[in-house]
């Protein structure tokens, strides 16, 4: 039977090699998955039950947002590179890749904001149609989560530039990475069902 291992006083307990904080982080991400599941289920039900639904490619700028999706995916790659860097003890790789991830995250948000402003200018609001309501709610909550992620990235990047992470201790980078990948995966699902299908 697996049970907590406390090898020395004040050592971090682990279970199957996972630290307490990382375990809790996964639980937090699971709850966030359920939150988006609720919103996505609502979207699917509403769209499937709607007699009319706009042709998405005519209302939304699919190529632009496809590009934006690519940007977010690349930011996940750079995040992985950052983590790989500090795992190998490479401080400069950690810092540069964190900077890149942060920058790409900000660019993603910028393009989303541009997409929103274009839609609003065309009169597509949350009140004007069910399509608008679901679009802004889904992308809005995702955007809020990305914003939270960017804030976290700023903190982690600043700490990395202060040499706050070492090859031995870099748990924060891993947690940041997990959150960022979660945000990316949610976006891939959202993009598929809102923009592509």
């Amino acid at each position: 039977m697996a049970h907590a291992v406390i090898s020395e006083p004040h050592a971090t307990p682990t279970w199957q090699g996972i630290t307490t904080l990382k375990f809790a982080w996964w639980l937090f991400l699971a709850s966030e998955v359920m939150f988006f599941a609720g919103l996505i289920a609502a979207y699917i039900v509403l769209r499937a039950g709607s007699p009319v639904w706009p042709i998405v490619s005519e209302v939304l700028n699919v190529p632009l947002v496809a590009g934006n999706t690519f940007i977010l995916i690349v930011s996940s790659v750079t995040m992985v590179q950052a983590y790989a860097g500090i795992q190998a003890g490479n401080q400069s790789q950690l810092r540069n890749m964190l900077l890149a991830t942060t920058a790409l995250g900000i660019i993603f948000l910028g393009i989303q904001a541009f997409e929103w402003s274009a839609l609003l200018r065309e009169g597509e609001t949350a009140q004007s149609s069910l399509f608008g309501a679901t679009f802004y709610t889904l992308t809005g909550f995702h955007g809020l989560h990305v914003t939270g992620g960017v804030v976290g990235l700023v903190f982690v990047t600043l700490k990395a530039f202060r040499a706050g992470y070492t090859q031995a201790e870099h748990g924060g980078v891993e947690l940041m990475g997990l959150y960022w990948h979660f945000v990316d995966v949610v976006w891939i699902i959202l993009f598929t069902i809102v923009y592509l299908i």
Partner: protein
């Protein structure tokens, strides 16, 4: 209130404990025991508040539109000293909302979860003490925001605790669908966030911080139940949050997620709401089941019958609980085939529930029963839960539910499982763990008086509801007597209301016992019940970090009346060969140990 550091301690800290201010010790404490007590006291306040609302409901049902002597001008002063018709839905809404979200869930998970988990697993505190603090302090604004509904124009939310759309989505519909409904939404969002933080903490703590030797299958049922409940909270609550957000947007921003006039779907609310709220009912019963198992085993002086099946049954109930939500919606116009699917999955939950019931009975069989107040309440839990559960099987059968949905049958069912089940479980748990929490004993005699009064009155109030429901009396209706075929039910309703008054007054016995004992109760020993789980292996109340030295666990918590031990109990941190024993074993025990 006795301090939790009242006993003289010889705690082996690495650093001297700095003297904490009153605010640090009792208000913004990160000690799970203090936070647990904070949840306990707030929950008890809302129990009283929710109970008073119930008395107002019962009074209206017995004597519709009559002025209540004395009370009427105080409560209904704004509507001519009598209940206004539009205020009745508000009463039932707030009664349900407060009892569910501000009493039962916080007292089971917040109070007992917090207090017991670290102690029973042998840990110093939760995995994240500051997250724990935050979890309580998210409840505090939620309390005020919910209560603020009573003071805004239009009054509190009045769409039922189920908040069905379109009534709850349109601010101008009726009194009570205004600011009060919005406040209701905001308050519950905060409650949900608090629950989520607690769930992450509890799950992590149980997995990560168990003492040496405390394998998962040596955990007491209380912990298994709280653990599985936390997983339910983690996975179900966010769906409620998403539903509340969409409803909030419909009300404030002008979206139409749930409003057909803008393309939305009314039934979407029901699906999202019940996807959470069905697991929520298991959140409200599982901890009580776990605690009842431990209390029954202790006072029967017998091992829990079928420990592993009990654990797997809790898992089965929780898992199945995610695929039955449609049974609340049989009357929504759903495809009958879908109804059959939900009927089948719902009936399946009866199986693990029955396993648990038979195992409780088997635990009692042949035991040396000690009929203390906690034990009596635990026995009441089992018996009334059976009635509640059986009445649920009727409701689970879709054709039967066509008739009994939204009648008093359902009200009887929910109160048998929630009052008969959860609340008797709470009564048992409060009296069982009071010595550990406060270092004093409650009066067992007054506990028995409370038990008898409550048990009798409870059955007199709620059993007739099955009769009323089968007769056709709908729920949430302020005046059933305006229907000729229901008018004959008034005398039964009056009998139930008088019994409800007795039920309410009986709680004064418990509260009197509780608060008197807090200050004047007999000082409690470490282990007044001669129980086996780890919380009894430390002082009453425990020192700040729970144990003077980290306990080591040798076996499960149900070694009662073991043939290999002289006494009829063997604490988890004592081994058969004497390891872990602080004092020399008695000659009888030594002989017993030497025999194997």
């Amino acid at each position: 209130m006795t301090t939790h550091t009242g006993t003289a301690t010889h705690v082996t800290h690495d650093h001297p404990a700095a003297e904490k201010s009153f605010i640090q010790k009792y208000v913004f404490s990160i000690d799970h025991k203090v936070i647990g007590k904070q949840f306990l006291f707030s929950s008890l306040f809302f129990f009283v508040f929710g109970g008073l609302l119930a008395m107002l409901i019962r009074t209206q049902l017995a004597w519709p539109w009559q002025e209540i002597p004395g009370v009427g001008q105080f409560v209904y002063g704004n509507s001519g000293n009598i209940l206004a018709p539009e205020a009745y839905p508000a009463l039932v809404t707030m009664h349900g909302t407060i009892m569910i979200f501000f009493f039962i869930i916080p007292i089971l998970s917040g109070a007992f979860g917090n207090f017991l988990i670290p102690l029973m697993i042998g840990a110093k505190d939760m995995a994240f003490p500051r997250l724990n603090l935050l979890s309580y302090w998210f409840m505090v604004p939620a309390f005020f925001i919910m209560l603020a509904g009573f003071f805004v124009e239009g009054g509190t939310a009045a769409a039922g605790w189920t908040s069905y759309v379109p009534l709850s989505a349109l601010p101008d519909m009726v009194p009570g669908s205004g600011a009060g409904q919005t406040l209701w939404i905001v308050s519950l969002t905060l409650v949900g966030t608090s629950s989520l933080m607690g769930a992450i903490n509890y799950i992590t703590t149980v997995v990560m911080l168990r003492a040496k030797g405390m394998h998962m299958f040596r955990l007491p049922m209380t912990i298994w139940a709280l653990f599985i409940t936390a997983i339910l909270v983690l996975m179900a609550t966010p769906v409620l949050t998403s539903a509340l957000i969409l409803l909030f947007l419909d009300r404030t921003v002008g979206t139409h997620f749930f409003l057909p006039s803008g393309g939305g779907q009314v039934i979407l609310w029901q699906h999202l709401f019940w996807f959470y709220s069905h697991p929520a009912v298991y959140i409200m019963i599982l901890p009580a089941m776990g605690m009842a198992s431990d209390i029954i085993s202790c006072f029967a002086r017998k091992p829990l019958f079928g420990y592993k099946p009990m654990v797997f049954s809790i898992m089965a109930i929780a898992g199945l609980g995610f695929i039955v939500w449609g049974h609340h919606m049989f009357q929504s116009g759903m495809n009958p085939v879908l109804g059959t699917v939900f009927m089948t999955s719902t009936m399946m939950i009866a199986l693990p529930s029955a396993i648990k019931t038979f195992n409780w009975l088997a635990t009692l069989w042949g035991g040396q029963l000690r009929l203390t107040a906690p034990m009596l309440n635990a026995l009441a839990f089992v018996s009334t839960f059976v009635i509640g559960g059986l009445s649920g099987v009727f409701a689970a059968a879709t054709p039967v539910d066509i008739f009994i949905h939204d009648t008093y049958w359902i009200v009887g069912h929910i109160h048998y499982v929630l009052f008969g089940g959860s609340l008797f479980g709470v009564f048992a748990a409060v009296q069982y763990w009071f010595p550990k929490m406060f270092g004093r004993m409650m009066s067992d005699r007054w506990g028995k008086v409370h038990f008898v009064l409550t048990f009798v009155a409870f059955n007199l109030v709620f059993f007739p509801m099955f009769i009323l429901g089968a007769y056709g009396m709908p729920r949430r209706i302020a005046d059933y007597t305006s229907y000729n075929f229901l008018a004959p039910l008034q005398s039964l309703n009056q009998f139930m209301t008088l019994s409800a008054y007795v039920l309410a007054l009986s709680q004064l016995v418990l509260f009197g016992n509780f608060f008197y004992s807090l200050f004047r109760g007999q000082k409690a020993a470490d282990n007044p019940w001669q129980a086996n789980s780890l919380e009894w292996a430390t002082s009453s109340p425990p020192p700040e970090h729970n144990f003077h030295a980290e306990p080591v666990v040798y076996h499960g918590p149900y070694e009662y009346s073991s043939p290999e031990v002289a006494e009829d109990w063997l604490p988890q941190n004592h081994a058969l060969d004497g390891a872990g024993l602080k004092k020399t074993p008695t000659p009888a025990a030594a002989t017993g140990a030497a025999a194997d």
